[in-house]
């Protein structure tokens, strides 16, 4: 299990699960969970490339992953606030029911 390929394989599986979740789930919070999976698959990529690519001195991949974690947290905070606000006006968190604009 200690090769770059296995990590990349895991990350692409995570990415596909995330994308599948975003496409199929109708609950706003579940969609956010799918997006988190996508972000984490990219993080796994970054850290794995850093570990196996012989780039250990400055750890650019690890630093990148840390920034992504911070951004993911703030994005989740804003997204959850928006979903709470949606619940107050639409009384649902189902994204299909919040669909009044068409055309």
């Amino acid at each position: 299990m200690d090769s770059l390929q296995s990590y990349l394989f895991l990350s692409i599986i995570l990415f596909c699960f995330g994308l599948y979740g975003v496409m199929t789930r109708r609950n706003g919070v579940a969609i956010l969970m799918g997006i988190e999976l996508i972000l984490n698959s990219a993080n796994l990529n970054l850290v794995a490339f850093n570990r196996f690519g012989g780039l250990s001195e400055l750890l650019p991949g690890h630093v990148f992953a840390l920034f992504v974690i911070i951004m993911a947290a703030s994005e989740a905070a804003v997204a959850l606030a928006i979903i709470i606000n949606l619940y107050k006006t639409f009384h649902t968190v189902n994204v299909d029911e919040a669909h009044e604009m068409r055309g």
């Binding site: 990349l8 990415f15 995330g18 994308l19 975003v22 706003g28 969609i31 956010l32 997006i35 996508i38 972000l39 698959s41 990219a42 993080n43 990529n45 970054l46 490339f49 690519g53 012989g54 780039l55 650019p60 991949g61 630093v63 990148f64 920034f67 992504v68 951004m71 703030s74 994005e75 804003v78 997204a79 928006i82 979903i83 606000n85 949606l86 107050k88 006006t89 639409f90 994204v95 919040a98 669909h99 009044e100 604009m101 055309g103």
Partner: protein, 496 residues
């Protein structure tokens, strides 16, 4: 350049962030009745000081923070566009009735933070900055789009924005991680050096990475097929924010995409050479040409069917992204200058059109094309200005939009590539004439003069008329703007 030395070149951005902190504190400690006004004034002063520092920044191209950010004429040109758009929106925001029941001081704060993100987007040289700056702009825009908390449409638009935005930036991040994996560095120049030597087998990975990265960039500039958020967000968001989103983040998206794609996937790290060729074996131009064709066609065709003016302008802004992408398929010096020129012109004409939409919205509360009937008699000056903005958006002489389009088309013709794209662009302009003229017809022909007059706040009408001046002026005397663009066409490159 080391971090301490870099700070002097980072002053405009520092002013923006520190004044944002001052505003948060003011918000906490100052509870008077004039809080909105005070914070409005503070933000405008902050933008003014940032502009002064930007004006004083005349150093040759350089990279600061160990090569993470570029300080060059190219980024400064875009920073001026962002400042101009922001100031226009700040000036009209107090007079937009939509915002009346909401805490405007928070709105000003978020706009200031978005400007900071836009500044970073224009000067990013590092994949980490690319991701961070896009996210800073996005997160601020999510909040601003959903700013009318009691309005269902505004909530829906911010929900759609946050889902599409988070998804596309996540997909882009995956692409960036692949680029990092291929090249072993987050610096675009290192990546370029690594990519120009990749073996043939890695080209598939490279093409996949390019496509994934284009997802994120395409979302910011509203490129088909990553445009689905645009009409809903533009329709539901407060009109001031719609105007802002259609101009500033789009310009930033182009600034970022041209520089990052140009360097990363170019055969040379120096963008100043004039000629540009993609990394060998990568079908860059064809890919962008297809996206461009799809973007302008979809934008124009769907715009025809719209009855909401905000939604119509949203689709039209998609179409305009398509026109600009035409030149991006070539990406030589002429193409970049044509896009910069068009973005500057687009700033005036599109902001102008949306400000007239605010004018109508203040009066009637919504923005169906029906409400525009008779505007030509009720508010002649504003209606004539709207007519000029629409002529310019269509690309009819003697307006600036015409000159901008001529430059975009001449890129394709002089490069003698993608003839079909130029033909499609002209056909699309003809289609766009139809729906722009529908608004014009509603304003001037669909109703009899009733003698009724409507007048908006002088600041709003005045700004609309002021925006009309450059649209007309640059239509007949565009060389000052083109000279500015040409002198701004200087990128940082490590060989300098």
């Amino acid at each position: 350049m080391s971090n301490i030395q870099s700070l002097t070149y980072f002053l405009p951005e520092l002013i923006l962030t520190s004044s944002a902190m001052v505003i948060i504190l003011t918000d906490v400690f100052f509870r008077g009745r004039n809080r909105n006004r005070l914070i409005w004034l503070l933000s405008l002063v902050a933008l003014g000081i940032a502009a002064i520092f930007l004006l004083l920044q005349t150093t040759p191209p350089d990279a600061i923070f160990y090569g993470a950010l570029a300080v060059d004429p190219y980024s400064r040109f875009f920073k001026w566009i962002f400042l101009l758009a922001t100031v226009v929106i700040y000036v009209v925001s107090p007079y937009s009735r939509e915002l009346d029941n909401n805490p405007r001081h928070e709105y000003y704060l978020f706009m200031l933070l978005v400007v900071f993100g836009l500044f970073l987007m224009a000067s990013a040289l590092d994949l980490i900055i690319v991701y961070l700056s896009i996210e800073i702009v996005s997160i601020g825009s999510f909040v601003l789009a959903g700013f009318l908390k009691q309005e269902r449409l505004s909530n829906e638009s911010s929900l759609k924005y946050v889902i599409y935005g988070a998804l596309s930036s996540g997909v882009m991040l995956y692409g960036l991680s692949l680029l990092f994996g291929i090249a072993g560095s987050t610096n675009v120049f290192d990546i370029q050096a690594a990519l120009s030597g990749v073996p043939d087998k890695a080209h598939l990975t490279l093409a996949v990475a390019l496509l994934l990265v284009l997802t994120g960039f395409g979302y910011k500039i509203a490129m088909v097929p990553f445009h689905f958020w645009t009409p809903d967000v533009y329709q539901g968001a407060p009109t001031t924010i719609t105007a802002y989103l259609s101009v500033a983040p789009k310009a930033a998206g182009f600034a970022l995409a041209l520089r990052i794609l140009g360097i990363t996937f170019g055969s040379s790290p120096d963008m100043n050479l004039g000629e540009w060729l993609p990394v060998e074996g990568l079908p860059f131009g064809t890919l962008i040409a297809i996206f461009s064709a799809a973007t302008m066609t979809v934008g124009n065709i769907i715009a025809i069917q719209q009855s909401s003016v905000k939604r119509l302008l949203a689709y039209s802004s998609i179409a305009h992204a398509g026109y600009m992408l035409m030149a991006a398929a070539i990406l030589n010096a002429q193409a970049v200058s044509a896009i910069m020129f068009y973005l500057a012109v687009y700033l005036f004409m599109n902001l102008g059109a949306f400000l007239v939409a605010i004018f109508i919205h203040n009066r009637y509360g919504y923005d169906e094309i029906e409400e525009w009937k008779g505007l030509g008699f009720q508010a002649p000056a504003v209606a004539v200005a709207m007519g000029i903005f629409l002529f310019s958006l269509t690309g009819l002489p003697p307006t600036a939009g015409f000159v901008g389009k001529v430059y975009l088309f001449s890129v394709l013709i002089e490069a003698q590539q993608f003839w079909w794209l130029a033909v499609l662009g002209v056909l699309n302009s003809v289609v766009s004439l139809y729906y722009y003229m529908r608004i014009l017809k509603a304003m001037f022909l669909d109703s009899e003069p009733t003698g009724e007059r409507i007048s908006g706040h002088p600041a709003l009408s005045g700004t609309i008329l002021l925006l009309m001046i450059p649209v007309l002026l640059f239509g007949v005397y565009w060389s000052p703007l083109m000279n500015l663009v040409r002198s701004s066409l200087e990128f940082f490159s490590p060989g300098m």
